[in-house]
Structure formats: structure tokens, C-alpha cells
């Protein structure tokens, strides 16, 4: 086949009618979509949700005593913040979450990585950690109240035991999944055990650890609300509980709204941190 023939073919191809870029389609299996699109879609689901709700309230399809419309919830949220110091309740809830979560991570990350790396550490701690995972944390509330009283201690303790054992297990599993070849490669390059832990295992699991943290922080909020509903005078959960006592449905909903928004904000922070810290992770694997 001569080169001339190939050139002709290519010219024909260029003139062919159907060489236009393929139409962008809405539904493609697992293909990424434009950022603007995903942003718009993400916003529109909320617009739709609140719009329907507002509509249902305006038309009288729902009882507004038990389900006040979104604009009323927003108005209530505003007065709560402006006149009743709701911001400080939000602040104290966030403080409880962050402090207990930081303590849980400070233990779970080193322990999980060590358990995933060394079978001896695993054999010692795993029976203990696994058993705890099956004990529902709220079952300890009566005990915690007796030990720590109604102060900060009992709330922090509940949040701590609520997430730490899951966090340890997740991190351990991710560490165990670090490919043996990576470790063996480092060994044949002369790395000792400590160097392998610090230069191979830790950086290899770091992205997975961050993802686990993101997932468990969401669980943390569940325990926060439980803790604050059961025994607290401050915090978002306590405010919601008071709302229930006085039949203030809009205040309960304002609390839920705030938890959702703060949760979304932390999720965003984690995603941002992931992008900044781990630019090397291929886009498809994020």
C-alpha cells in the first residue's frame, strides 16, 4: 500500500459529513460530566425539593402546623440567630464534633495503620476493636452520664466511642490493601521497616484515610444529635429538643437545616483538602 493512497483516504475522511464531534449526551455510563452541569444539577435538586414543599404548603396539601413552609423555617432561623444566640449553639456543636473527632483520629490513624501493617498488632487489638464495633454507642449513654455527669465529658465520650472503632477498622482495611509489591520494592531498594512505614505505607493509604474520615465525620453528627437531645442545655440538638417541647416545629426544622448545611460545608472542606493534598490521584479514582 503506497503512502499516496493513505493521504487520499485521510482527505476523504476530513470531508466526510459525520466527523463532527460526538454530541454530548446526558447519560453516559460512568463518564465524567462538566463541572457546571454537576453544579447546576446539584442545586436544582434542592430548588425542586423546596419548591414542591413551598407549593404543597401554599396549596394546603400539608398541615403547616407540623410542616411549616421553607420560607417560615428560614425566617425562624434568622430570628434564632439574631435574637436568641443560636450561633453560639451551632459553635458549641461544631466544637464538640471537632474535638471528639480529632481525639478519635489521633488514636485511630496510628493504630489502624499499625494493625494493617503488622499482624502481631492486629492479632492483639482486633478482637477488642471488632467487639466494640457491634456495641451500639448510645447504649453507653446511661453509663457515660453516671461517669461524666451532664457536662461536656459525656458528650465527647459518646461521640468518641461512636466513631473510633469504625475508623480504626476502615483504616486498617485500607492499610492492609497497600500492595505487597510496593513494600517489597522498597525493601529491595534498602528501606528498613520504619522507612517503609513512613515513606511507603503512610503516603499510600493517606488518600483512603481522608476518605474514611470524611465518611465517619458524617456519622459523628448522628451521635452529636443523640447526645445533645438526651442530655444537654446547649448545642443544636438541645435547641431542637426545646422546640419539640414547645411545639415549635419551625425551630426543629431550622436545626435540621443547619446540621445539613454545616455537614455539607465540612464535606466540601474534605473534598478540597483531598484535591490539594493528593493531586497525584488519577481523576477517575477520586
Amino acid at each position: 500500500m503506497g503512502a499516496g493512497q493513505r493521504v487520499v483516504e485521510r482527505e476523504e475522511l476530513a470531508q466526510a459529513p459525520n466527523t463532527k464531534p460526538r454530541r454530548q449526551r446526558w447519560f453516559e455510563y460512568q463518564k465524567p460530566i462538566p463541572v457546571v452541569w454537576s453544579l447546576l444539577l446539584g442545586i436544582s435538586v434542592w430548588v425542586l425539593f423546596f419548591g414542591m414543599w413551598e407549593l404543597a404548603a401554599a396549596r394546603g396539601w400539608i398541615d403547616t402546623l407540623f410542616m411549616p413552609p421553607p420560607h417560615q423555617v428560614l425566617a425562624t432561623l434568622y430570628t434564632m440567630i439574631a435574637e436568641r444566640g443560636f450561633l453560639s449553639d451551632i459553635g458549641i456543636s461544631i466544637y464538640r464534633i471537632l474535638l471528639s473527632f480529632a481525639m478519635a483520629c489521633a488514636i485511630a490513624i496510628p493504630l489502624g495503620v499499625l494493625m494493617g501493617s503488622f499482624r502481631t498488632v492486629d492479632a492483639f487489638f482486633n478482637p477488642f476493636v471488632s467487639a466494640w464495633r457491634y456495641l451500639p454507642a448510645p447504649a453507653f449513654i446511661p453509663l457515660l452520664l453516671m461517669w461524666f455527669g451532664v457536662g461536656e465529658g459525656s458528650k465527647l465520650a459518646l461521640l468518641f466511642i461512636g466513631v473510633i472503632f469504625f475508623l480504626i477498622t476502615l483504616i486498617m482495611d485500607h492499610t492492609r490493601a497497600v500492595r505487597a509489591e510496593l513494600i517489597e520494592t522498597a525493601m529491595t531498594l534498602g528501606a528498613n521497616r520504619w522507612q517503609i512505614l513512613s515513606t511507603i505505607v503512610l503516603p499510600a493509604v493517606a488518600p483512603k484515610i481522608l476518605v474514611s474520615m470524611r465518611q465517619m465525620l458524617a456519622v459523628s453528627w448522628t451521635y452529636l444529635v443523640i447526645a445533645e437531645i438526651v442530655a444537654a442545655t446547649t448545642g443544636i440538638g438541645a435547641v431542637m429538643m426545646r422546640g419539640q417541647r414547645f411545639l415549635k416545629v419551625d425551630e426543629i426544622m431550622a436545626g435540621i437545616l443547619v446540621i445539613g448545611m454545616v455537614g455539607l460545608f465540612f464535606d466540601f472542606l474534605f473534598r478540597l483538602a483531598y484535591r490539594v493534598l493528593f493531586p497525584f490521584v488519577a481523576n477517575g479514582q477520586r
Binding site: R179, E181, L182, E184, T185, A186, M187, T188, L189, G190, A191, Q195, T199, I200, P203, A204, A206, F278, P279, F280, V281, A282
Partner: protein, 277 residues
């Protein structure tokens, strides 16, 4: 191929009566390899060839120190092998790029943990990155490279660490045919310039003949050395391209001979299977 005078000298790597027995679940044991002995000379490329499951990887991993032999001993430069060491760097079949490091940092890794100064490291890495023709990509992350490129990085990373012997376990097994050729030809040029001794595992007959100055053919059940051949038809030099090899006198003879051995192994295997029934 190394000059004849080397062959009389003491071997670079000496494997002496090495066996490996694995204990299976349930208390039974199997001899993965049994009484394996061979020598690799300084500057030689030696290929471990044989059917799947004959214990090639097991032997290589024992030489790397990643696995302890159940019997026998191995010596590198007359020192007994005991555990992994930077003098015996290994390249695996699966990609082993450290994803969180750029190409440059990957290649520098071994030197860094062994305390080579930053300036020396940089210069050495540059040299090897150039050798594997990835200078343009030295600041890229591995996820941006193709499989063949990543494997080149692994080779450069191992060589830059200055090993006495380069160990490779089917390093091109996962690559497509064309990339494989390129890599094999690149390997020859790298070995010619860096004079490193190589022990490479493969089950690809052509690859073994193209690369190796010596081929150790292993048979199965238990895995042991069946034949230790020097590729004499190459007449003391290495080929720089596959065409050159195919046209060389004696190539087809050695290829046929190895194919027969391979076929023979398959037949033995079938007979064994029948007997077990």
C-alpha cells in the same frame, strides 16, 4: 555477552542446592523448588525460563531475600544472601510506581533512603531518566504515564540505586507486543552502558533468547533446573533488534530446542494428571 575470561572467574551470583517447601493449609507440604543450582557471571544477563508454576518467581524472590530458602544457600559476591538488600534490586511484573511521587522522586527514592546527598541524587536520577527516555516526564506523576513508561521508571529507580544485580520478574509480561519489543531493546542498551548483571524471569521463549547470555530452563514438580544453556549462537555479542536475532544463524535451532523442552513439560504434566486420576 561478557568476554570469555570472565567465565572462569568466581560467579557474581551462586545458587547452591536451593529448595523451597511451602506448608499448605491442612498440614500438607509442597516442594515448590528443589535442589536448584546455577551461577550467574559478572555482567551477564541470565534468564530463568520455564512453564508456569515451575518456581521461577520463587527462586527469584529467594535471591531477592524476600523469601527464605528451606534448604541450600545463595551467594552474591561470595557473601551469603540473608534478607533483602539494596545490592539486589527487584522489578516486578505489576506496576510498582509510587503514585505520590513524581518520576524524578521515584527514581531518587532508593538513593534518598540510603542517604545519598540531594545533589548527587538529582544528577544520578537525571542520568537514568535520560537513559529510559523520559526526561520530558520527570515532573509527571505515574498516573499520567502509560504502562510501559511506568515500567521504565521502575527499572530506572532500581538501577539508579546502584545494585550489584538487577532482578526482574516478568517485567514486560503485562505489556503489549510492540511495547515489549521496545523495552527489550532498551534493556539491551541499558545493560551495555551500565554493565549491570541481570537475572530475569520470563516464560516467553523469544524474550529469553533475545535478552539472555545464559538461559536456565526449569521444569516442574518439583521445580528444578533442567538445562543450563549459554546462548552460544550469539557469538559473544548481543542483538540490538529482533530482526537481527531472527536472521542470526542458530536462532531457530535454539528456539526449537527450547520449544521441545516446553512441550515435553506439558506432556509430563498431562501424564501426571492422568496418574493422579
Amino acid at each position: 555477552m561478557p568476554p570469555k575470561s570472565f567465565q572462569a572467574a568466581s560467579p557474581k551470583l551462586a545458587v547452591r542446592g536451593v529448595g523451597k517447601r511451602y506448608r499448605l493449609n491442612g498440614g500438607k507440604t509442597i516442594d515448590a523448588v528443589h535442589d536448584v543450582s546455577f551461577d550467574v557471571m559478572e555482567g551477564e544477563i541470565c534468564a530463568l525460563l520455564g512453564p508456569s508454576g515451575c518456581g521461577k518467581s520463587t527462586v527469584l524472590r529467594m535471591v531477592a531475600g524476600l523469601e527464605d530458602p528451606s534448604s541450600g544457600a545463595m551467594f552474591l559476591d561470595n557473601a551469603q544472601i540473608d534478607g533483602p538488600h539494596k545490592s539486589r534490586g527487584m522489578v516486578f511484573q505489576r506496576y510498582t510506581s509510587f503514585d505520590w511521587m513524581t518520576v524524578q522522586k521515584n527514581v531518587e527514592y532508593g538513593m534518598k533512603i540510603n542517604g545519598v546527598s540531594k545533589a548527587d541524587r538529582g544528577a544520578q536520577a537525571d542520568h537514568f531518566i535520560q537513559m529510559i527516555q523520559l526526561s520530558k516526564f520527570k515532573n509527571a506523576y505515574p498516573c499520567q504515564l502509560s504502562g510501559g513508561m511506568q515500567q521504565r521508571v521502575a527499572i530506572a529507580r532500581t538501577l539508579a540505586n546502584g545494585p550489584s544485580i538487577l532482578l526482574m520478574d516478568e517485567p514486560f509480561g503485562a505489556l503489549d507486543a510492540e511495547t515489549k519489543w521496545q523495552m527489550q531493546e532498551l534493556m539491551i542498551s541499558i545493560v551495555e552502558t551500565s554493565k549491570v548483571t541481570v537475572l530475569i524471569v520470563t516464560h516467553d521463549i523469544e524474550e529469553a533468547i533475545f535478552l539472555a547470555d545464559r538461559i536456565i530452563f526449569m521444569s516442574r514438580h518439583p521445580g528444578t533446573v533442567r538445562e543450563n544453556m549459554v546462548t552460544e549462537f550469539k557469538d559473544g555479542r548481543r542483538f540490538s533488534s529482533h530482526e537481527e536475532m531472527i536472521e542470526a544463524k542458530g536462532f531457530h535451532e535454539i528456539e526449537k530446542k527450547i520449544m521441545h523442552m516446553m512441550r515435553d513439560e506439558m506432556r509430563n504434566d498431562r501424564e501426571e494428571a492422568l496418574q493422579e486420576c
